[in-house]
Every structure is written in C-alpha cells, then in structure tokens.
Amino acid sequence: VSWLRIKIDGSRTSFQPGEVVAGTADWKLDGPARPGDAVELRLLWFTSGRGTRDAERIATAEFESPAEEDHRPFRFELPRSPYSFEGRLITLTWALEAAIAGKSLGRLELTVSPTGEPVRLG
C-alpha cells in the first residue's frame, strides 16, 4: 500500500463507552486488488504488558472490490466495556485496524472510557 488514512468524524480519538465511531478510510494501493480481495476495517482491543497478549475483534466493516485509490465510510457502535486502562501489569488499548488479504495496512489507536482518558490503576 502506498498510503492509508483512517479519518474519524470530528477528528476524535477518545470516546465514551456505547458511543458511535464513524468516519472514512482512504487508501492508495500499490496496484489493483486481486478479484475477491476486500479491505477490512476492524474495531478491536488488545492487551500489552507482563501477560501474554489477549485481543478481541468486536466488529468488522468489509469494503468489497476496493479500487486502487478509494475511500469508504464506516460506522461502529462501541460496546459498554472494556474501558481503556493502564495498570502496572496490563494495558488495554482500543484500535481501528485496516487489512487486505490478511496483511495489515495500518492502525489508529482509540481511547474508550467515561472520562476520555485511559483508567489508571495504582
């Protein structure tokens, strides 16, 4: 991919649990996509820190027949939990991640919590 940009309405990266995340994904691929390939935009969370990484994909938007240069709108509703948090052992991060044919194109990290900041433990 030459470039990928995930733009969220209002240029926000902090959200309340249960809010809607909407925006557009813009990209320019190196060449035409193979027939059947789709660009996927995933809403997910993952952990980092001392423990083995855990991750969960919450929702996926599939953009079929992507043009070499294209932009598509997306809309996800965030669940009520888990909140983004930072502890001494565990950090949980929310993200939007784009991929084509299993290859990651890019990722935008989000914060999901009632205050708009990750909950700090300890």
Partner: protein, 217 residues
C-alpha cells in the same frame, strides 16, 4: 433465601450470598493429596542424600534434599489447612446481585462455629490485576493490587460475630475484566486472627460491571 453469586444471570435486586473462591475443605483435601503423593514418591529416596554427599555427588544430594524440604513444606501446609477446618465459618451477603462502578453497596457478615475464637476480624474490598505469562515450560501469574477499600477492622466480639458495612465502589476505577491471560478481579478479602491457631483467610470474588450511563463520574 439469598442467592449465590457470582452468576451472569443474577438479578439486580435482593440479597446475594457470596461463595468463597476456595472452600476450606477443598483446600485441605487438595493439599493433603498433594502432600501424600509428593512425599510418598520422594521419601523412599531420603536415604540416598547422605550417600550422594559421601560419594562426592553433592549436586544430586543437594537436588534431592531440596525436593525433600519442599515436601516437608507441603506437608506442613496440609496440616495447617486441616487444622483450619475447625475454624469459624464466615458468611458474606450483599444487598444486591448486580454491582456497578460508582455505586455503594451494603455487606453483611456472620460467623458461625465459635466466633469468639477470633480476636481480630478484617474485611476489605480489593481490586487487583492478574497477568499470566510463559516462564520456561510453565506459566506464571503476576498479581498487583491497585485498590483496597476497608469494610471492617475490629477486635470487638459482638462486631466480629456479625455486622454490616458499606462499600463505595469508586467511579474512577476499572470494572471486572477477564481475558484468557489477563484479568482484573474485585474480591472481598477476609482475615480472622486466632491465637495459637491457623487464621481464617477467605476470598470472595464478585463481578463489578461498568458504570451505568449517566451515573456519577
């Protein structure tokens, strides 16, 4: 009749009796079986320790001695757990089944079976992180407490035998979280000190849910 907690289907209203994370009988049986197995396998080789040192194989002798000492520790742990079966039993009841961040809940405790043996009772509501990671061929779990909210700390016999307390769950902290290798756990930790006898030590896990929308910040 109070219901038992935790349970995802537990209704929000009505008192809920908590279940200890590890009932004393299960702990005592588990440790006793482990002590029998470990020591039954190793003690027949105890005579080889001095022989190993005499023959100059001190590495083998030291290794065997370490396993024997570990077996002794497990045996003492089993005795401790078996003696603890005679301890008074603590019953914890919450005023409702569903707990959210930012809420205040009422906890009721009651000791049965000679509560006067306990000289000091402490109950605290505690939040901790647990992270499991590989270490060689095994998996280890690291634990870190991030919040402790005292419920009661008393030496008064009447308050030890039974009582109620309030716990205000902060809104600026994290709800319970469970993933395969990473967890955030909320639980009531109970310690009852008994002179010249194993203490009462129990943990009661509960599930704390995210804040109710529009609730306190």
């Amino acid at each position: 009749m109070p219901r038992t907690y935790p349970d995802a289907s537990t209704p929000a209203s009505g008192p809920v009796a908590l279940r200890p994370k590890e009932p004393p009988l299960v702990r005592a049986l588990g440790l006793s079986l482990l002590a029998l197995f470990w020591n039954g396998c190793l003690w027949p080789f105890a005579g080889q320790v001095p022989a190993a040192f005499r023959s100059g194989d001190s590495g083998r002798g030291l290794l065997l001695a370490m396993f024997l000492v570990a077996g002794l520790g497990i045996f003492l742990g089993a005795i401790h757990a078996l003696l603890g079966l005679r301890n008074p039993r603590l019953h914890l009841t919450l005023d409702r089944g569903t707990l959210h961040l930012g809420e205040t809940l009422e906890v009721e405790w009651k000791l049965t079976g000679l509560p006067e043996r306990i000289r000091r009772l402490r109950i605290a509501f505690e939040g901790r992180e647990e992270a499991t990671y590989p270490s060689g061929r095994r998996h280890r779990t690291a634990r870190e407490v991030f919040r402790t909210l005292p419920v009661v700390d008393t030496t008064e016999p009447a308050s030890i035998a039974a009582g109620t307390g309030l716990v205000a769950i902060p809104s600026d902290t994290l709800h319970s979280f469970a993933a395969p290798h990473n967890r955030v756990i909320w639980s009531f930790k109970v310690t009852g000190e008994i002179r010249h006898w194993p203490d009462v030590g129990e943990e009661f896990e509960v599930s704390v849910l995210p804040q109710i929308p529009g609730g306190p910040r």
